[in-house]
Symmetry: C2
Subunit: 110 residues, 2 copies
DNA sequence: TAAATACATAGAAATATGTCTATATTTGCA
DNA sequence: TGCAAATATAGACATATTTCTATGTATTTA
């Protein structure tokens, strides 16, 4: 049952779903609301799992910056990671996440 | 031409589009990344143009809080408003914006 | 004109976010 | 074992966000 689907139009989002879920939804969007993180989503959607170093190089980021954004994205449930040797490979937990970006451009010519 | 559509897979988002557009896209998401503002999008999508007072009452917000969020959303290009007498009616500039929320739940069971 | 209604805004304070530098941790390899 | 590679983390700092209280502005109505 979707948290956003409403049967009773007079009920607000806040009334229909619990605050935790609403905050979580907002949190997911907040993760995407950064140029670097949008670029990471795009990169991983196109290229599949990549190590921190690969992401760092392809996007021209400092090591710490790349790591910090990636860990944040993982903590917030946007990315997953697997460890192979000393490399950590990150990938999109939900590749459909890219659709949000697609929606965004459809909505407002971003 | 979509800013996110890539013909050359080796080009990153940052390389394909200009930083201003990327920042604008991130900015649009940042506007949505707040529980109250998600609730406002939902409310206006369902109920059409509403005055500040109506929004305030339906969502149980303080007057200043409602006004601040609404003005922010307008400034960032998410809402439009018309003034009738002393009421300011706000509505979604792009009703499709709701789709982003729909995508969000599809992506990650938000 | 005075009061009330509907909003907006300013300023302060708390919290969150983003970046940078430096350092720590883990793992692979000579 | 000792060094290098890959990544994570800590701490400091600047900036942004959010909320709150109070006040200002525009408009309607008595």
């Amino acid at each position: 049952m979707s948290i956003f689907a409403s049967k009773i139009k007079t009920m607000t989002l806040t009334q229909r779903i619990n605050p935790e879920k609403l905050e979580h939804a907002a949190s997911m969007l907040r993760v995407l609301s950064h140029p670097v993180r949008l670029a990471i989503v795009d990169l991983l959607f196109t290229n599949g799992p990549l190590s921190v170093q690969e992401i760092q190089e392809k996007l021209g980021l400092e090591q710490a910056i790349a790591s910090q954004h990636l860990i944040l994205m993982k903590d917030k449930g946007v990315l997953s990671s697997v460890k192979e040797g000393r490399c950590h490979y990150f990938s999109l937990l939900y590749p459909n996440m890219k659709n949000i970006i697609h929606c965004l451009e459809e909505c407002c010519n971003a």
